[in-house]
């Protein structure tokens, strides 16, 4: 991976959920870093723990069921897990912002969208200025309307007075993005931003994110299950399976030559008209299903579904670690080319 200046460094993060059915280890020993101005994608299917990582960075994991068990998250030189809640609040929304998957439920239905964006602005800039609050309120509203224009909503002065339910899904997502970038964060965490949207609207949202990234120079941590989106938009990729990272590389390198059998399998599953004969009518699959914790399979968690691993003794007993096989490429597999 490009050794640019590193903005966020996650080291050895582990998070678990304590339920009455047992301890669910949602994230186990995850390490990665996001560089300035680049897009880092965390890819994985549902239940692999990627959303938990996002929530852990902002320390939004639901206590007391969920707990960050160990690890460090270093952002601009500070370990986020050691900060006090008050300091954390200054980072949330201000330096690190997040947008969620379901725009409808993430916006408060009883306030207009203009109010919600203005509120974010007011709170984070309160400490910066000493203006009289009324003037600050008017200023915040103007800023909100400007933001709506920046994210591509037509007729923003009128839209700012509308309620979330009056907007379409794509526009709601744009409002969320407006709220997120209102304080010019250094890092934007996008948790499945296009899953709930149509194809065309989703493409437009991703274009918007690209544009904003170019304008503000912010980094994006993109969390998704859609490999194709990752291929188009991300610079660095980490593939997650069952709470661990199994492969991490530069986006181009990964898609040109994936090493881990899971990544290979996922890429084969995608319908691709250019490669296979459409008349053959059979898609490649990965047999079996994602293991639900607890308990995970012993050894490599992917081995029951892996063509090589289901016959290999080492894969069945010993868990492979994420190790560097080439400069900038990390794989957790006993059979990866060293």
């Amino acid at each position: 991976m490009n050794r640019d200046e590193i903005l966020l460094s996650v080291q050895d993060l582990s998070a678990s959920f304590f339920t009455e059915d047992g301890v669910i280890r949602a994230v186990q020993n995850v390490s990665f870093s996001v560089s300035k101005g680049r897009t880092f994608a965390l890819v994985g299917e549902s239940g692999c723990g990627k959303s938990t990582i996002a929530l852990s960075i902002l320390r939004l994991v639901q206590q007391p069921q969920g707990k960050i068990v160990s690890g460090e998250i270093v952002f601009e030189g500070q370990n986020l897990l050691r900060l006090r809640e008050k300091q954390m609040r200054q980072i949330r929304g201000n330096k690190i912002a997040m947008i969620f998957a379901e725009p409808m439920t993430s916006l408060n239905p009883v306030y207009t969208v203009g109010d919600q964006i203005a509120e974010a602005i007011k709170i984070h800039q309160k400490k910066n200025t000493n203006q009289a609050s009324r003037k600050a309120g008017a200023q915040a509203w103007e800023d909100a309307v400007e933001l709506l224009r920046t994210v591509g909503i037509a007729n923003p002065e009128q839209r700012a007075h509308e309620y979330p339910h009056q907007l379409s899904g794509g526009m709601q997502q744009r409002v969320m993005i407006a709220m997120a970038i209102s304080c010019e964060p250094k890092l934007l965490i996008a948790d499945e931003p296009t899953t709930a949207l149509d194809v065309t609207t989703g493409a437009a949202i991703l274009d918007l994110l690209d544009e904003l990234q170019k304008q503000n120079g912010m980094s994006i941590l993109l969390i998704t299950h859609d490999l194709a989106v990752v291929a188009e938009r991300a610079d660095d990729v980490a593939v997650m399976y069952a709470s661990q990272i199994v492969e991490m590389a530069d986006s181009q390198q990964l898609f040109a030559a994936p090493f881990h059998p899971y990544t290979r399998g996922l890429l084969r599953c995608l319908p691709r008209s250019s490669i296979s004969n459409p008349r053959s009518r059979r898609l490649q699959t990965i047999p079996g299903a994602v293991p639900q914790p607890p308990p995970f399979p012993s050894g490599c968690k992917f081995h029951p579904r892996c063509r090589i691993g289901c016959n290999d003794n080492r894969c069945q007993t010993v868990e492979p670690e994420l190790r560097q096989v080439q400069p900038g490429r990390y794989v957790a597999c006993w059979h990866a080319p060293a």
């Binding site: 526009m171 493409a203 194709a228 319908p271 008209s273 490669i275 459409p278 699959t285």
Partner: protein, 335 residues
Amino acid sequence: MRNEYLLQVDNLKTYFPIKKGLLRRTAGFVRAVDGISFAIRAGQTLGLVGESGCGKTTVARSIIRLVPATAGRVIFDQTDVLSADRAKLRQLRKQISLIFQDISGSLNPRMTVSSIIGEPLKVHKGMTGRQLNERVATLLCEVGLTPDHINRYPHQFSGGQRQRIGIARALALQPKLVIADEPTSAVDVSIQSQILNLLKDLQEKFALTYLFITHDLAVVEFFADYVAVMYMGRIVEQGPAAELYRNPLHPYTRTLLSAIPQVYIDDFRLTIDDCKPVLSEVEGSKIENQKSEIKPAGCTFGPRCPWRQNNCFKQMPQLQQICNHKGHFVACWKY
């Protein structure tokens, strides 16, 4: 003369009234389905593609009368569905079955798998006891589950398994036509391909006919013989699958294809950079977001179309066949 089409839909319209005011007067209509026509031959698959809110689910539900249709005809196996009486409808419902999108909502959480799959068998075929259990076990094996799942409740299964149970239920009465309403939207990628392969195998084994409804153009090409693209309640383009993908004509189809994210450059993207949709007041294609209750004149894609001209706003284009492409219909003034 024997009609070779198993299902024929002729100018189907389903309007939902918008009630406004104190006395709940009908102020206008949401035109969920606005004149849809297509036909499917036995043993084939028609893919109905469109984004959310375009009315494709309403088409499915209108065909089997879960939602009352306002106008049009639906002919299934020489029988008129929309005007059938209760007894005839009951017979028809045995031959057409539906696979739902929402896997957590489509299975009754209070019933075991054996009841979910077995109840239609009990009610319609009168099977009981050992015979019933054997049939349920057979169905479960067909869809890739094991018979010892028979007494479990839906919440104990994963998403992919629940969808398989839904498929087993749809097959219970040995239908001729299966309407699959976005069967793979709610499952992971690796499970999606398993489910699609399963559906394909079942089609070959039981000679089923599918009406496959989805928003994912990438999936449809592998699955369908014939594709129809819907926008705002109307079909804007339809044709054989291979032809449509090789040569998409309608600007909306081209927009959709260009917006699909792809891993490798030559997957779907054609040189269609001229098809970025224009940002407008009406973002998105949801019918519920129509602001006016009056039927807009002209093509419904007009406001977003990058090729729009003056007469696009005056009159609605009809589906017409393009001369040199047999079976390929487009509704656009450009042609």
